[in-house]
Amino acid sequence: MLIQIRREIMNIKDERNLERYEAILNEFVELDTLAKSSNSAELDCKISLKKLKLAREFTKIDESILDISLRQNSSDSQFFSEILFLEAKRLRFKEEAIKCIQTRTKSKIST
């Protein structure tokens, strides 16, 4: 079982996957910068639509990590450090996602 999990970790750590993982993060940050300078609702929507697309791509990789960490039941320290390394990437994306919400006053509807 542990061997199988290790193999899966190696698949995720496959260079191309990790490169994409980094690239998504960078694209995401760039989009956020673009959104800050935008003053049109149309552009804002287009940007957030792109962000959603990126988030979906990100979570596809992300969920494979979660899947492995859900199955882990081992006290192997090397195994944990590998999981932690991948988990850290996940947390960074999440942080970026949360940071990007521009604080807006909730539009309240009057009757």
Binding site: A41, K51, L70
Partner: protein, 650 residues
């Protein structure tokens, strides 16, 4: 002259179309259909357009087949026709192959929805087998940009909404990552909706926001906005959200009234479906069946997803009514090519449970539930996966592989933590308590330490349920604790636990569970306590209360068992006191209940012949019950009646 005529004609058509779209976007279906009918057609294109508009209205109302038939008279081939075909037959291939990248906006939008739905219900592998690697998000992006360029803000917003709505079904495990971005998208769309023509478009945004973020004030905003535009159907949607998402069940009736007024059949069907589920949870089987029949009436005109959803609910109803043979037949009938894996997994989940109930091959049940888990995992339906894993865990509990039990338990706790499902964590505490006791019993030393360790687990579960305000969970914990105390002979503690469970179930109107607890109290008295003037009436009262419920709800399996327990109770009480005066009464009672049991078993056997052959895994079997009845009648010299049971035994 001709050009003047044409100009007038075009202007007239434009006005008619504006009238149609005004009605369509504000969900006034009947009026929109009539408006489409009033459009004059002078050529094929215009006739086809009328048919398409009518079909769009029919689809919104839930008349999928009629929409398809209407459109089949049109010569025009487009994405909408292929979309309808997909909704009815579940084959994404025609639209994937028939709508290239440069197609019209509507066709592309339908294609992106088909791909998204296929991913959700069949999984990515299915699309890959059709050589489809297109991303619905990329298609939506193209569509959205085109619609914005054309100034079609309502359509652009609604297209985005549909895509967000699909997120309700998808990727729940990553909601922590998605939610902030979805939130941002909502805020941006709300800002954009100031350019939309219809207030209803904005209202739809708020309504979905309410559902995704469990934000009741957003639903209230939607209610105000729909009300402003007189959108009755929209109001129905809001009321349904109050009822379903915010558990304010009184709103179901209001929603139903709105859907009747707006002639929304699918909306009415969904309400009856929700009412049936609610009744099932409450153990009101008859009400569930009634609501389900109504749901069938309205949803059978829908597409493949609506029909399969109905079929799953039907199978669940059969399972809960104890018609296990029919469950097996229905599941095997349902599994055909093209059926979405999501429904196959649901069916396998019920089948695995049924096999356990029938006392058949545990390995077979394990195989089905493992397949269901694999499917849910591949589809990234983590909530469903959690429940399937839990069934797998329950099956493991029937066997003795404690390592596997612990490992699976840990996996479930981790997944439940990720999903924020505190209730599932609580159930695992209950199971840990159970396992602790079982391990000790198997080792032959059940120390007080182990008992208090298990009791601690129960307390943890109860505390978790209390913090969630979940009375049913709390009751389940007490019931499980009662079972543990029964098993280790702590009868007073067992009785107290059962009585607390019963109180909580009754407070929550969970009648089925309350009746089962009644049966457990009766069994406790019957099997573990000396029957006397104090204990006999307690057992009798609890069995009778359970029987009233089982018989009223036509739960055939539980019904005959409750009658058997009553017969056995009176039989036992009579035997231990037969030389005393006045105990003839209990002999007569036992006679009466055993005779009634014969009729109840025959009724049950008509429904589930296989189960009656194999006997039940849980509780008493028919063979054991008939043996007892046979012995009883022989002991009172009623050879004729005894033979009736003998015949059955042979």
């Amino acid at each position: 002259m001709h050009s003047d005529k044409n100009q007038i004609k075009n202007q007239h058509l434009e006005e008619s179309l504006t009238e149609f779209w005004d009605l369509f976007f504000t969900d006034q279906y009947e009026q929109a259909f009539e408006a489409a009918n009033r459009i004059e057609s002078f050529n094929h294109e215009e006739s086809d357009l009328i048919l398409e508009l009518q079909a769009k209205v029919l689809l919104r109302q839930g008349q999928f087949k009629l929409a398809y038939q209407t459109l089949s008279n049109s010569k025009k081939e487009n994405g909408f026709k292929l979309f309808l075909d997909f909704l009815l037959n579940g084959d994404p291939k025609p639209i994937i192959e028939g709508v290239p990248k440069d197609s019209d906006t509507d066709s592309l939008l339908y294609k992106s929805q088909v791909i998204a739905l296929s991913k959700i219900y069949w999984g990515e592998q299915h699309l890959e087998s059709l050589n489809c690697y297109e991303s619905p998000d990329s298609i939506l992006e193209i569509v959205f940009n085109r619609l914005i360029e054309a100034g079609k803000y309502d359509k652009a917003i609604l297209a985005s909404l549909q895509s967000l709505e699909l997120l309700l079904e998808d990727q729940l495990l990553s909601h922590d990552i998605h939610l902030p971005i979805i939130h941002e998208q909502f805020e941006n769309l709300i800002k954009l909706s100031s350019k939309a023509k219809y207030t209803s478009t904005k209202a739809k945004l708020y309504l979905l926001k309410a559902k995704l973020f469990k934000d009741r004030s957003a639903a209230e905003d939607a209610e105000i906005l729909f009300g402003k535009e007189g959108n009755i159907n929209g109001l129905g949607e809001v009321y349904m959200t109050y009822a379903k998402d915010f558990r304010e069940e009184d709103y179901y009736q209001k929603a139903l009234e709105c859907f009747i007024k707006s002639k929304n059949l699918i909306g009415q069907g969904f309400i009856y479906e929700a009412l049936a589920s609610q009744a099932l949870i409450n153990g009101e089987i008859k009400s569930a069946k009634e609501a389900f029949t109504k749901a069938q009436e309205y949803l059978s005109n829908g597409g493949i997803f609506e029909n399969l959803g109905l079929e799953i609910q039907n199978i669940s109803l059969l399972a809960i009514s104890g018609k296990y043979q029919k469950v097996k037949e229905s599941v095997h009938d349902m599994i055909k090519p093209r059926i979405p894996s999501f429904f196959i997994a649901q069916a396998y989940q019920i089948l695995a449970n049924t096999i356990i109930q029938l006392g058949e091959d545990i390995e077979l049940a394990k195989g089905y539930i493992e397949t269901a888990c694999d499917i849910f995992k591949a589809l990234r339906r983590y909530n469903q996966l959690l429940y399937s894993q839990n069934i797998y865990f329950q099956i493991l509990l029937l066997q003795n592989n404690l390592d596997l039990i612990n490992k699976t338990g840990q996996e479930i706790i981790q997944l439940a933590t990720r999903l924020g499902n505190e209730e599932m964590k609580a159930t695992k505490y209950l199971d840990l308590a159970f396992v602790t006791i079982r391990v000790s019993l198997e080792e032959g030393i059940l120390s007080e330490t182990k008992i208090s360790e298990a009791t601690e687990y129960f307390k943890k579960a109860i505390t978790l349920y209390q913090s969630q305000g979940n009375l049913i969970g709390e009751a389940d914990s007490y019931q499980a604790m009662g079972n543990m105390f029964t098993g280790i002979g702590k009868l007073e503690e067992a009785l107290n636990s059962f009585i607390t469970a019963k109180k909580l179930y009754s407070a929550e109107k969970a009648y089925l569970q309350a009746a089962i607890t009644d049966t457990l109290v009766g069994i406790l008295m019957l099997n573990y306590v000396v029957l006397n003037k104090q204990t006999y009436p307690i057992a009798q009262r609890h069995f009778e209360q359970a029987l009233i419920y089982f018989s009223k709800e036509n739960l055939l399996d539980l019904n005959w068992k409750a009658i058997y327990y009553l017969a056995d109770l009176n039989h036992k009480y009579y035997v231990s006191n037969k030389d005393k005066e006045g105990f003839e009464l209990y002999k007569n009672k036992a006679d009466k209940y055993y005779s009634e049991m014969l009729v109840a078993v025959e009724e049950f056997q008509e429904d589930s012949p296989i189960m009656s052959q194999g006997g039940s895994f849980v509780g008493i079997t028919i063979e054991e019950a008939f043996n007892k009845a046979y012995q009883f009648f022989l002991s009172i010299d009623n050879e004729k009646k005894a033979q009736k049971f003998r015949r059955h035994l042979n």
